[in-house]
């Protein structure tokens, strides 16, 4: 009990100091308006007068709150320690295994407190549904992000992702060179999705990829549902959510999943291979956003600049995630070539689901998925 009280007191004291410092700052602002920047309203680094002023403002705040960033996911462990080492700003990493919805819930329930998350890393569906919670900001490398991968004013912008793929244990099933192979007798009771597509985004994209490979389009997921219905009829579909455990023990030797997640199974199953069909390269990216009511608005913006710098992008790449500036960095030669070579090969033009197309797909799935595999 004593210890708790002591800790609480310790935590309260810096708060008082911060409050005092802020009062002082505000007082100073009255005399020298030129140096005062409302960090919460800054939409680019130029609003601070340059990167060094942004760094200074962030250091003054002295802290950054992040949420739902697992240290072993997309190399976030190294990214967090890299940021702190570079700028000397400690990071409070809460609920590392939380979901996108958990992040949004935290922004709402902790609004106005010092514990609220400053920055978010969320799925696109959740980002689109909650833009009213975000502050617009454009990083210095904004131009390298394709228009389809960002909100025009900078409320959210995609960060890293990959392509829908078929991962398989080559010691248990024949080599896969097209989706039709999966209907063969060698795949009986072996093909799985990463979740229920009416519930999990990765699974929805798996069905969409199957649709693209079977003559469907981004506007028409029905061919994918038909394909899984065929798999079901042949007895090839396993209604089990693929996880590291099911891949390891052999329950799901063939899995539709994002290539960067699937490639990681190679650690447990040396014969694991990842195949991205050239006629159905479906991309999926996560997005970054800044909390409109971030308790550390400058640190939040500095974090974004760090993530979208060459350094931050290459750190993601080392975690097998494809950073959003990858194409631009390959052109400029700034990419980490070794890390890039470790990614599963992809040949062709990738396509991305728009918001309207995702809505259409989920409506179709809600009505047809259960019957198709029931």
């Amino acid at each position: 009990m004593e210890l708790t009280r002591l800790r609480r007191f310790d935590r309260a004291r810096p708060l008082v100091l911060v409050a005092a410092a802020m009062a002082l700052l505000t007082a100073c602002g009255g005399t020298s308006t030129a140096t005062t920047v409302n960090a919460a309203a800054a939409t680019s680094v130029s609003d601070f007068g340059g990167l060094s002023q942004l760094v200074a403002a962030a250091k003054k705040e002295g802290k950054l709150n992040v949420i739902a960033l697992p240290p072993d996911w997309a190399n976030y462990g190294a990214i967090i320690s890299g940021f702190t080492a570079k700028y000397g700003i400690p990071i409070q990493s809460d609920n590392p295994n939380g979901s996108s919805q958990d992040e949004v819930n935290a922004v709402q329930s902790l609004a106005g407190t010092k514990r609220a998350p400053d920055v978010l890393d969320i799925g696109i569906a959740v980002a689109l549904a909650n833009t009213n919670l975000f502050a617009p900001y454009k990083v210095q490398t904004w131009g390298d992000i394709l228009p389809a991968q960002k909100e025009p004013t900078g409320l959210w912008f995609q960060d890293y992702g990959g392509y829908m793929s078929i991962g398989y244990d080559s010691s248990k099933v024949p080599t896969i060179s097209s989706l039709q192979d999966l209907l063969g007798s060698g795949f009986r009771g072996k093909v799985a999705l990463n979740g229920d597509p009416t519930k999990a985004n990765a699974a929805l994209n798996g069905v969409m990829m199957a649709s693209l490979a079977n003559g469907g389009s981004l506007d028409d997921i029905s061919k994918g549902v038909d394909f899984f219905h065929q798999l079901k009829l042949k007895g090839n579909f396993v209604p089990v959510q693929a996880t590291t455990a099911t891949v390891k023990n052999g329950t799901t030797p063939v899995v539709f999943d994002w290539d960067y997640l699937s490639a990681a199974h190679g650690k447990d199953v040396p014969t694991w291979k990842v195949f991205v069909p050239s006629n159905a390269i479906l991309g999926g990216y996560y997005a970054q956003a800044i909390n409109k009511q971030a308790p550390h608005p400058a640190a939040a913006r500095l974090w974004m600049e760090y993530l979208y710098s060459d350094e931050g992008q290459n750190l993601w790449l080392k975690g097998l995630a494809r950073p959003v500036r990858m194409a631009a960095m390959q052109a400029s030669g700034k990419i980490d070539a070794t890390a890039a070579a470790a990614l599963p090969p992809v040949n062709g033009t990738p396509v991305f689901l728009s918001d309207a197309q995702a809505t259409q797909a989920k409506t179709y799935l809600a009505a047809h998925w259960a019957q198709a595999i029931g």
């Binding site: 979901s99 996108s100 919805q101 799925g123 569906a125 959740v126 549904a129 009771g189 999705l193 979740g195 229920d196 597509p197 009416t198 519930k199 999990a200 985004n201 929805l204 007895g235 396993v238 209604p239 089990v240 959510q241 099911t246 023990n249 052999g250 329950t251 995702a358 809505t359 989920k362 799935l365 809600a366 009505a367 998925w369 259960a370 019957q371 595999i373 029931g374």
Partner: protein, 278 residues
């Protein structure tokens, strides 16, 4: 004025807090949509997959309740007629106490590890020419769910039915026999009618137990929402934008209605079977 009603307050408070209030909240949310009051949540209940989920839920609950009740009653009878202080009775009743609560992820894990498609048993049998999954992975279908449910249904039946069997006195059988009755007469006119209300009540309990089970099914079957609790979970947690709290509440209300109907049927039956006792 008598203050005897004071004693019932804790009970009423408990019922209000843990039964009436949650029901009221569910009923309320079932009529709320994104744009205020609506009845549209109930319209979605006619969706083919939802109707199918309700049918599957009722079927799997009814079948496992009836099979569980019969097998559990037989086991309980074997225990009740044995030595009241014997090892068999102690073993069975303590095992049932544990197994009746053995559900969810651990139970599913136990089944998959034992007879699942990646299990030692299955692979061993397969290598010796016996393929229990020749017709498909039935363990991930309704039949598999029923099999897993029986694992906690039978022990629960033993637990709840044993006291009723213990109430049957051997003297009644002796009396039947001394009056010239056969074993059939004893079961038809003495033990049967005495046990019927308890048996029906226990079967209803098993039905409700299976009907409301969620964790076991969620751990076993991750696709398609084949029973209602899984459909409700889908509606609550979908990250692709299909989450719909009002619809989840409407489905929950549907489950409440079904249990109410079954309970009403039960009380009618019970009144009939226990009529002669008056």
């Amino acid at each position: 004025m008598s203050l005897s009603w004071l004693g019932v307050i804790p009970f009423l408070g408990y019922v209000a807090l843990f039964l009436l209030l949650p029901t009221a909240i569910i009923a309320w949310s079932a009529f709320v949509g994104p744009d205020g009051a609506t009845t549209s949540n109930f319209g979605k209940l006619t969706r083919t997959d939802i109707v199918g989920a309700f049918r599957n839920s009722v079927v799997v609950s009814a079948v496992t309740a009836v099979i569980g009740a019969m097998l559990g009653a037989l086991l309980a009878y074997a225990v009740a007629t044995g030595n009241p202080d014997g090892v068999f009775r102690r073993l069975v009743s303590s095992a049932c106490g544990v197994l009746a609560q053995f559900g969810g992820v651990t139970l599913t894990f136990a089944f998959l590890a034992t007879i699942g498609p990646a299990s030692f048993t299955y692979n061993f049998l397969q290598q010796h020419g016996v393929d229990i999954y020749a017709g498909g992975y039935w363990i991930y279908a309704l039949r598999g769910l029923g099999l897993v449910y029986l694992y906690f249904q039978i022990p629960l039946m033993v637990l709840v039915f044993l006291p009723a069997l213990d109430g049957i006195r051997p003297q009644w059988r002796e009396a039947t026999e001394s009056l010239g009755g056969s074993t059939w007469h004893y079961w038809r006119y003495v033990a049967g009618p005495l046990l019927a209300p308890a048996f029906l009540g226990a079967t209803l309990l098993l039905f409700a137990n299976a009907f409301s089970a969620y964790a076991t099914a969620a751990a076993l079957i991750n696709q398609g929402g084949i029973i209602v609790p899984l459909q409700i979970a889908n509606a609550l947690t979908s990250e692709v934008g299909l989450h719909d709290i009002g619809f989840a509440a409407a489905q929950a209300l549907g489950m409440i209605v079904i249990v109410t109907v079954v309970t009403a049927l039960y009380s009618v039956l019970q009144r009939r079977t226990s009529r002669w006792l008056q």
